[in-house]
């Protein structure tokens, strides 16, 4: 074994870029929807574009599909420049937000719509349609009228219709937003399974951070036409590069801090309420600067200590007062005023037996670890 990164064994699914975005720009008049986006999307991965509405994620997806012309830059799919290649000739297929099920056709006719131009026998086409329907769990629904389908079924028809053409990339434009919560959760895991099964690159557009975290291999968080961070779900959650990303994904508390120095892979800080500490350089995903900064931590990384709890072996203890309690059944969320900090922070706690829900005004002790902190300069 060697430690050289080049020797890291290539996984069977080569992580070669399938889609290459090079300085992609899109503007309408003087409004910029996309600003110089450069990134790669790998073969066989479940890739999400996540961001608030108007951030450009749908525009980027539609650029890849060929519904929007680029204002600048290059888009390569499988090594081929897509300039001048219109949507009907690209190796991509799309699942639309409204599903766009053709209302005058049956389920079968919808699914087989894209096969019209293929030279194949009728039997062959029928077989492929049946296979596609089976794949999405709609076996036997072929003869149904499209308008008689439920939301979840329409979604499945849309999937089958797009996948039957074996595209190199499947594009999904907020495909779950029209479903109710239960159905959405079910489809999330089904989609993930389906993607693994067919091995096609999926690109999902969503504004729902939870959905992106659950389903994706990698997530690109977009704001104002740029990708703010592209990472695995875990890294995105644990090491957001900016306060904006941190606030968009889950809940993060911020404490004012001052960077006093950097030394040997360590950063020295003075954090309000927590005192002087040193953290790993890795804990600052953005650039490090000395001076004013802020430190973030997730609500679940701090633990409320109860009477009789063993003292934490690692980490430290801070004191505070409960300002507000929100009871969620399995969890409680506390707004805690740490000693010496004006703004309360949120701390979550699992409600297990023997741990009463604390009332407002209760004094508490909190155990925390420097490793859970993220520094934003």
């Amino acid at each position: 074994m060697t430690s050289s990164p080049a020797a890291a064994a290539p996984t069977p699914k080569a992580k070669r870029p399938l889609i290459e975005l090079r300085d992609i720009e899109k503007y309408y008049g003087d409004y910029y929807a996309l600003r110089k986006i450069t990134t790669d999307i790998r073969e066989g991965e479940f890739f999400s574009l996540l961001g608030p509405s108007g951030c450009g994620k749908t525009t980027l997806l539609r650029c890849i599909a060929g519904f929007e012309e680029l204002s600048g830059g290059n888009l390569l799919i499988d090594g081929k420049d897509m300039e001048g290649v219109s949507a009907n000739h690209r190796p991509t297929n799309m699942v639309f937000q409204s599903y766009a099920i053709f209302p005058h056709l049956t389920v079968e006719e919808n699914v087989g719509f894209g096969l019209r131009r293929e030279k194949a026998t009728k039997e062959d086409k029928a077989r492929r349609v049946a296979e596609a329907l089976e794949m999405v769990g709609l076996k036997g629904y072929g003869k149904r009228a499209a308008h008689a389908l439920s939301g979840g079924q329409r979604q499945r028809v849309a999937l089958a219709r797009a996948l039957i053409l074996k595209p190199k990339v499947l594009l999904l434009d907020e495909p779950l937003s029209a479903l109710d919560k239960k159905m959405r959760e079910q489809m999330q895991s089904e989609l993930r399974k389906l993607q693994r099964q067919v091995g096609i690159t999926f690109i999902l557009v969503t504004h729902d951070q939870e959905e992106a975290l659950i389903m994706s291999d990698r997530i690109a968080v977009m704001f104002d036409g740029v990708i703010a961070q592209l990472d695995s779900p875990e890294r995105l959650y644990r090491r957001p590069v900016s306060r904006k990303v941190a606030e968009f994904i889950g809940i993060m508390n911020f404490l004012p801090a001052t960077v006093t120095g950097t030394e040997g892979g360590q950063i020295q800080l003075e954090v309000a309420g927590l005192g002087a500490i040193a953290i790993d350089a890795e804990q600052c995903p953005g650039a490090v600067k000395t001076g004013e900064a802020s430190v973030g931590f997730r609500p679940e990384t701090m633990t409320v200590l109860f009477e009789g709890d063993p003292e934490p072996t690692r980490g430290k203890i801070a004191g505070g007062e409960v300002e507000e309690v929100v009871y969620f059944g399995d969890m409680s969320y506390y707004d805690v005023k740490l000693d010496g900090v004006e703004k309360p922070v949120q701390i979550s706690m699992r409600n297990v037996v023997g741990r009463p829900v604390l009332g407002r005004g209760a004094r508490i002790r909190i155990a925390w670890e420097a490793g859970a902190l993220v520094l934003f300069c």
Partner: protein, 271 residues
């Protein structure tokens, strides 16, 4: 609550009575065995209907009206499809103004359209008045109605349907043929029937522009001068009313089916 509704309901039924009074009388006099159109009724006859078939100038007028109405229904619907597609699908400068101009015949008095066309045709183009000039005028006044119907048909069309077909490998033209056309077809049929009905019934423009080729309403108007011809006109009217009701029912059926087909909800009537 109930009593308030009932007051309105009674009023509404009386109002319907007012609207339908002339139509209800029509068949009564059409089958009445008397040349005088008044009560009391004399007896049952079908002679007025028989007289229709032998009236050559009437049959000629019917022929003229049918030529005009069929041409108008095709032309006005074609113009309607272009305009409805343009307004529901695209944003462009001057859209409001151009659409306002196209819809203007809805409020412009027919006589103004009639004299304008008459003046332009005879004095500027130097054309002879004929059924063709009537078709010009009727297409103008029928187009706003076809646009109104087709707008709702095109509006209930989800744009991603087109994009989906395009994405699945179809061209723009085959997308129009395979997706858009089937979905708006009920609206197109409905628009054609309405345009047909409008043209068939229009008098003022036809009177000005038909020259010597009288259409049915022009013929009917000319017959009002002869009291003895009136029962025949009643018989003709009865047939026309029945025809209109059938056409409108079919048009309404297609209009609703079109909206339902495209996944929308029916609202409002023809206008």
């Amino acid at each position: 609550m109930k009593s308030k509704g009932n007051g309105f309901r009674i009023y509404a039924i009386l109002y319907l009575g007012f609207l339908y009074a002339p139509i209800v009388l029509l068949p009564i006099f059409a089958f009445n065995n008397s040349t005088v159109i008044s009560f009391p009724l004399v007896g049952f006859t079908t002679q007025w209907f028989q007289a229709l078939v032998t009236d050559t100038s009437l049959l000629l007028a019917v022929r003229h009206s049918l030529i005009v109405a069929v041409s108008v229904s095709i032309l006005a619907t074609t113009f309607g499809v272009f305009a409805a597609r343009a307004t529901t699908r695209y944003k462009f400068p001057g859209k409001g103004g151009l659409m306002g101009m196209i819809m203007l015949p809805l409020v412009l008095p027919d006589i103004i359209i009639a004299v304008a066309l008459l003046g332009a045709i005879t004095n500027i183009l130097g054309m002879k008045l004929s059924l063709i000039t009537v078709i010009f005028g009727h297409t103008l006044i029928a187009t706003p109605f076809t646009i109104a119907i087709l707008n709702s048909a095109f509006q209930s069309l989800d744009r991603s349907l087109e994009e989906a077909a395009y994405d699945l490998g179809e061209t723009k033209i085959s997308t129009f043929r395979l997706i858009i056309l089937p979905l708006v077809m009920p609206g197109i049929i409905s628009a054609m029937l309405i345009a047909f009905t409008i043209s068939l019934d229009e008098y003022i423009i036809a009177a000005f522009l038909s020259g010597t080729e009288a259409t049915l309403p022009v013929y009917i108007f000319s017959q009002f001068r002869f009291p003895q011809r009136v029962p025949v006109i009643m018989a003709l009217g009865t047939i026309l009313v029945c025809l209109s009701i059938v056409l409108l029912t079919v048009a309404e059926y297609f209009r609703r089916r079109g909206i339902a087909k495209a996944g929308g909800k029916s609202s409002g009537g023809f206008l």
